[in-house]
Symmetry: C2
């Protein structure tokens, strides 16, 4: 510890991303990456941008990319804010809309980065418990003081609310922002983006990491009322005018223009999710109704921690959260059918040996 | 203005980057970009990384890149923190070391982003006037309350302090961080990096934007004592675990391994700076002793604002700051010899016509 730090830094427990071990080759089902390659058009656009132009600053406003994103999402460019991954966009949302406004409401089980952002900006949190079936109790998110942050589908449960329920939360939080993180929406849930014209306090955050197989490119964006987007730009331009490099801007614009390829990959993942769920049930797992690119599974007899370690030893990485209420479950990303064949075969062996 | 914003957001005047107009082709001498192309090895590394691997998250610790940077800078990897451009790194330094520690000291004329960061984090500033010759009055930066931020060479003056003077500032600010922004150091100034082992409170920030012709790739880094680097990682991991995409990491690592190409480009820029300075003096300009990739010039009779507009009309972009004490000067980036021939020819015409 260093006395040269800002005093509140000592209290911050930073976010810990899923492991990326290099000791051997694993079936990686631990960080919700898409098993299919990115669109060829994305790679072509990146290669075309990898030239002399890199000596120049990128477009600070990401104009072409913003237009492509707006077109793909059915909104106006003024309703879109691009950032360096949805984590950065979420952090800027916390700074722009939740700082200095009182207590922020969020679920007890959700993306574990939310309380970290809150701590960084000195925001107190009102933590609402999920229902016993791990669904979001919608009405408990009404009338917050500083705003609401939820993920839909929620992580790591995978459970999705209908868009109309997101609308009800926005309607019942007048005067503060409802931030809805749709990182996993493309795998079968209903997006609340069409509601932003109805609710000027509803802000949606999306990412190309999962749906477009571009976790390595770091592209996230927010969609909402123009005034919210202006607030985000004010924060961004107080930190870094150029958050997206020229290559990422070019690649991401191409991704938004190749939505049919991306939809096809997402559909394959959703199909494999359903198939895998059936197979896991036969092995004695109980699962949530996941609409994302992972399943959230609890075994009837074997502990999650035991299964996590045994899977790891057998070359399969999944995610285990040593957290109250969910420490009996594994979050397993959906890979290819072949990846899941290996998962099932390894699980069968492990369960037999227990 | 929106009541949905965090209340302090209304008071923030964000940073305004130099213009990137698209209406016609300009000789761009306004944003200190390097006129020479990036290293071929950088482009090759990016193209090699533009493949299926983009579906995976990048290395959150930028391990390979950090090692390459450490080797190039003659320090240990534990003394290096990589970020998405030096602007982001600077912002994280302000959060990690200057927030909640009292009043921060900085020069009245320097990089105009510093007061913006301070405002974002609620840091009060003690603004020290540069000497009449626009040099930094070193002793006035001793014994600050919360720390010191300076650029060396300073911007937009281009004037450099010897590294030993940076050391004196660090020595005379015990218990708080001295942040030295060396964005322009590679064009002829002396780096204070060798002093980080002597002063655990000295933190140096660098960038590949100018020296390595990679403004479009967004690579900045900090060099300092391991405890300072740990503080920066704590801030980073409270905002965004993956600030550098896979392409930027690959390209930047290649740049650090091709330092001879970069040095040669910087030497050419420095030579052109000296030649251009002589030519500008003959046209009636007085110049600071710039050690950076720009000159800072005041004409004996013509106003800077007039020259700025006339140059723009004639297809040459330079930077003009409507700021007290320097509104009589132009900051002119150093381009190729051919760029500067055009600048001089256009200036001759303008000055004749006034």
């Amino acid at each position: 510890m260093s006395s040269l730090w800002s005093p509140d830094l000592f209290d911050i427990d930073e976010y810990v991303p899923g492991e990326q071990p290099k000791d051997k080759k694993y079936i990686k089902l631990n960080t919700n990456e898409n098993p299919y390659p990115p669109s060829e058009r994305v790679l072509e656009a990146i290669i075309a941008a990898a030239g002399d132009g890199l000596r120049l600053y990128p477009d600070p406003n990401c104009s072409e990319l913003t237009e492509a994103a707006a077109l793909a999402c059915g909104v106006k460019p003024e309703q879109v804010f691009m950032g360096n991954g949805s984590d950065e966009v979420l952090a800027m949302c916390f700074r722009a809309f939740f700082t200095g406004r009182g207590v922020l409401r969020m679920p007890d089980i959700s993306y574990s980065f939310y309380p970290v952002y809150a701590k960084l900006y000195g925001i107190n949190c009102d933590i609402v418990a999920l229902s016993d079936d791990l669904s979001i109790p919608v009405e408990k998110f009404f009338n917050s003081q500083a705003g609401v942050v939820i993920a839909n589908p929620n992580a790591p449960t995978g459970i999705a609310l209908p868009a109309a329920e997101i609308g009800r939360i926005a309607e019942n939080n007048p005067g503060c922002v409802v931030l809805c993180d749709e990182a996993y929406v493309d795998f079968g849930a209903e997006s609340a983006v069409p509601l932003i014209s109805k609710y000027n306090n509803l802000l949606i955050v999306r990412t190309l990491s999962k749906s477009a197989s571009l976790a390595g490119l770091r592209i996230g964006w927010a969609i909402g009322d123009e005034k919210l987007i202006k607030g985000l730009n004010k924060v961004k331009n107080s930190i870094n005018s150029y958050t997206l490099d020229s290559l990422a801007q070019a690649g991401a614009a191409a991704a938004f223009k190749d939505s049919s390829y991306i939809s096809a990959c997402c559909a394959k993942v959703a199909q494999t999710r359903e198939h895998t769920s059936e197979r896991l049930k036969k092995l004695g797992f109980e699962l949530t109704d996941s609409k994302s690119n992972f399943v959230f599974a609890r075994h009837s007899t074997a502990s999650a921690e035991t299964l996590f370690s045994a899977l790891r030893q057998n070359g399969v990485l999944v995610r285990y959260f040593k957290t109250p209420r969910i420490s009996d479950r594994l979050r397993i990303s959906v890979g290819t059918e072949e990846d899941m064949d290996i998962l099932i075969a390894v699980l069968e062996r492990i369960l037999e040996s227990l």
